[in-house]
Amino acid sequence: MASITPQMPVRTKAGNRLELLLSAPMNSWIALSKDESKIIAIGKTFMEADATAKQAGEKDYVLTRTPDAWLRRALYPVR
């Protein structure tokens, strides 16, 4: 499966997490640089985003998943 790539490299001032999250496609995994200044990789799956980040030579990043929509959510699952 081909990786999703942003139209342009997404880079913001350090710590502009909101701008980066809003620029990312929904229902995707994104690899954020540790200082949250740029998106290193985007993938439909965790492994795809992780592999793309590693291929880019990055070592210091954290993966996060964008939801289907940025909504107010009451998560609290109970069984």
Binding site: L21, A31, D50, R65, Y76, P77, V78
Partner: protein, 151 residues
Amino acid sequence: MAAPGLVSCPLKYPYKQSPLPNGEVDRVPILSIQVARGSVLTSPFEAIIDSGSSDCLFHGDIARAVGITDITSGIHSVTGGVVGEAQMDLYAHDIRLLVGSDNFKITGQFSDQLPIGCLLGRPGFFDKFIVTFDPTEPNPGFELARIHKKK
């Protein structure tokens, strides 16, 4: 009588921002964690700390990243939320959770229906840490203190 627990020094983490509709912003207790199974270890990923969750929930992609190719091979259960009709299929698998320099075995519940990467709930997380939430300005955040209780 239970032996007193040994509590490590708490570590403080800032809340992270998450978008909301209409340009509003949520502040969320998010922790960077890793998961391992056998010798396979994931890269760090973000998890939301959720004291209301009755389990530690992970997106199915995390299972596949540690070699669980078919999440439905785990014990099946169904979870609901505060909205009555919303249900989610969960599959249990034993994993190791890495939080900072600490790691421990837990049973994770995995689902491809989870809209986010991970929720850290009561069994598996809140039974390992004392969590103190402080959402007040100017520095909203939370503290984690690992607790080691003798059984």
